[in-house]
Symmetry: C2
Subunit: 452 residues, 2 copies
């Protein structure tokens, strides 16, 4: 959403080279507000304005631009200046930003960075998407355990500008092994006895994650224990980074977004809806839509087997969508209930029998409710249905199809988990597609039994 | 997931009244691990063990129990001791816990609490679910601006035990108006000049939320600005509470969970899947399933109008589920894409025309892809279809139904938002239900044009 009110003024300041006002603009407000006001400028204009801010402010404001605007600036503006900016961006964010940039430009930029920064970027970009390593930053406060509280406070005060968080201070040994944690809270509370050594107050029952752990595990730990940050260690317990609370919120939000799309069989997008080209979006939907279409073709072939019967008993036809949608809807409900319960650790594989029993009971309750309604409405609104005998077909089918839906929908995610697949892969349209075929077979079998 | 390995040992310690070991158990590990180990005990046993911990530890361990176990302890154990525990639980958490407890027990417990705590609980519980007020805690560090950095550090160190976070310190005037913010980082960095007044370093360009703001706004601000906590003010800018990063993560996770259920037409659960009684769960699914059933009945009635034609051209019947599922699936995809884009602020109401154009293009791309596949498979697998002329009916219908699905699916959430409803209310089964009827009408109209 572009806030264009301020753009003419900004352009005028630039045209008049009004240094004082431009510098004032870059520092008077919260960096996020400044970025909002600049939304709508050309990359070159934005870059000229940013050049009036000091490097810290510049990196902060830049961090609030849209990803596509960041890309445009990086690829079009002066390489040396861009490299300077990149050196200033937190390590986890800049790796994400560079991931979307043309490889040649990235290697050009890397060659202009100090060797330590370059190595840091190359190391961080090696971790696969979705691991703790790909979420972590490498800027954190490292202290030695022999320091006193007074010395530690001085050290932290001195270095506080450089770090994403100074609220957790990590105690490491000379080989960079993680030994303990002291919080800024402990430092402040400990000021009464400033000579106390950090080793006496540090917390050694540390919760950490491995660099290759799944991001879902990171989220679980940070959320469950209300942590500000969690240390990341490698296989030898060397401390290699930290993941802060704000990165965890971002992962949870993005994950929820992706799950919502997956649940309707859309591949997650890399950019926003409006910024994703229509053809790419069509592909991300189309690939799954085609697969679902094949499932539906199977349903059509199943129905084709009953074509003669349906011609003879044409009054059965109108109820086909009713029956398969009842099965599909109850199946999607069960699948989503089980998938979310699995994701939150509320259900484990061992409890499958309990789940089946619950779903059969629910299927019966729901099926009989729909069946009663179906019976009444059939009698009232469908005059072509031949008497009581015929009117029993749809209700009986409904009970069977709904139970079939709840059991299939709840068991498929558990089976998927069992064989090591993502339970959420079994997205709702697939559950519905499978139950469609079962629904047709059940319907026609019941009808044949009653009418033949 | 019950970890029962340690339970016999714990029970033995209790039977032998082994005080030293019990006290050791309550303090040696992280409170979350202690709670894990106690999973599976009876409420009375857990309460006896907790009584060996000091009050702070007791409240922390209790905070990691499941909600239903917390309820069981509160309702069955000694009221005075329970009241003591409740006084110790952070203000936002205890309001949530008490919400699930029988009213008589709550008022008994409240009467045993100090007046200030009682007032605090009563005030916090007035805020409607989903507002900033219902998320906030009332424990935060309040300082006056005339304090020096040295005085502030002393004050924070002294009070650090009582507060959820001491990393943001709020500067208020004598009437409790929020004036500014000083971070613990600023305090530590400012120790070189300990006489500096807080008024000289405090940040006054403050981001805050109103007590009645929606929790989604809170999440957006905290996530976008990477905040540790956000102050909550009332209509007169009195500071009434803070919301910390961990509460925001919880809201995002619960929100994602509820949205996933709503998207398949299940009312969000108050407890976990396995802890929710089967009849309540049946009701939370059944109420929507019944509404969807009525939608499906309308589809059946629409189909009934075409019963004679379908009897005559029986080869049309097998394709009915194929056509309505293609429309429903593409409609659900569009609806979810637009709902998630709206929720993340990636699309605004003003951009509806852009959305329609994109969806029509995507509908045509997807529709033609399915149509080509449909044409080929019809010719190969459905021998009863009468020649080229008849074989065109299904493909043409598919293009029209898919475009109809993408346009309906994308516009309905925007229309809902326009008239002030929750766009996510338009959950996928409803979109599918609406498109079912449209699909039937389109199919039969195309067929009649070709065959009549």
């Amino acid at each position: 959403m572009v806030n264009t009110l301020f753009l003419p003024e900004l352009r005028e300041m630039l045209a008049n080279k009004n240094e004082a006002e431009l510098r004032e603009f870059c520092s008077a407000l919260h960096p996020s507000r400044i970025a909002d006001f600049m939304d709508g400028l050309e990359p070159a204009e934005a870059w000229q304005i940013l050049s009036r801010a000091n490097l810290t402010q510049r990196a902060e404001i830049f961090g609030y631009f849209d990803r596509s605007f960041q890309d445009a600036i990086i690829t079009t503006q002066d390489r040396d200046e861009v490299a300077q900016l990149i050196a200033q961006i937190p390590s986890d964010d800049r790796v994400d930003i560079l991931e979307g940039i043309d490889e040649d430009i990235v290697s050009d930029l890397l060659s202009r960075l100090p060797a330590s920064e370059r190595r840091d970027i190359m190391r961080l970009s090696q971790y696969p998407e979705g691991t703790a390593g790909s979420m972590m930053a490498t800027e954190f406060v490292r202290l030695r355990e022999h320091l006193s509280i007074a010395e530690a406070i001085k050290e932290v005060g001195r270095q506080s500008e450089q770090y994403e968080t100074i609220y957790y201070l990590y105690i490491i040994d000379e080989e960079n092994h993680l030994r303990g944690l002291v919080s800024a809270r402990q430092l402040l509370a400990g000021m009464k006895k400033p000579d106390t050594k950090l080793s006496d107050i540090m917390d050694t029952a540390l919760i950490s994650v491995d660099v290759m752990d799944d991001e879902a595990d990171v989220v679980d730990k940070v959320a469950r224990l209300d942590l500000l940050a969690i240390p990341v260690v490698d296989g030898e317990r060397h401390m290699v980074g930290i993941i802060t609370h704000d990165d965890v919120i971002d992962v949870v939000r993005e994950g929820a977004h992706d799950d919502a799309l997956r649940s309707v069989a859309v591949e997650p997008l890399e950019d926003t809806y409006l910024n994703t080209p229509v053809l790419i979006l069509s592909w991300k939907r189309g690939m799954w839509l085609l697969i679902l279409f094949f499932c539906a073709l199977l349903t059509a072939m199943a129905l084709q087997q009953y074509e003669e019967k349906l011609e003879r008993w044409a009054w059965l036809i109108p109820f086909i969508p009713l029956i398969i949608s009842s099965g599909g809807n109850s199946g999607s409900q069960s699948a989503t209930l089980v998938i979310t319960a699995l994701a939150h650790g509320h259900v484990s594989m061992q409890q499958w029998f309990e789940v089946v029993v619950r779903e059969i009971i629910m299927g019966l309750v729901l099926g009989f409710s729909l069946a009663i309604l179906g019976l009444v409405t059939t009698m009232v609104f469908f005059p072509t249905v031949p008497g009581w005998y015929g009117a029993m077909i749809v209700p009986i089918t409904l009970v069977l199809v709904v139970v079939c839906g709840t059991v299939t929908g709840s068991m498929l995610p558990l089976i998927f988990k069992r064989i090591g697949w993502d339970p959420a892969l079994m997205s709702n349209p697939f559950v519905a597609g499978i139950i469609d075929i079962l629904g047709i077979v059940i319907y026609m079998t019941v009808a044949t039994l009653f009418l033949a």
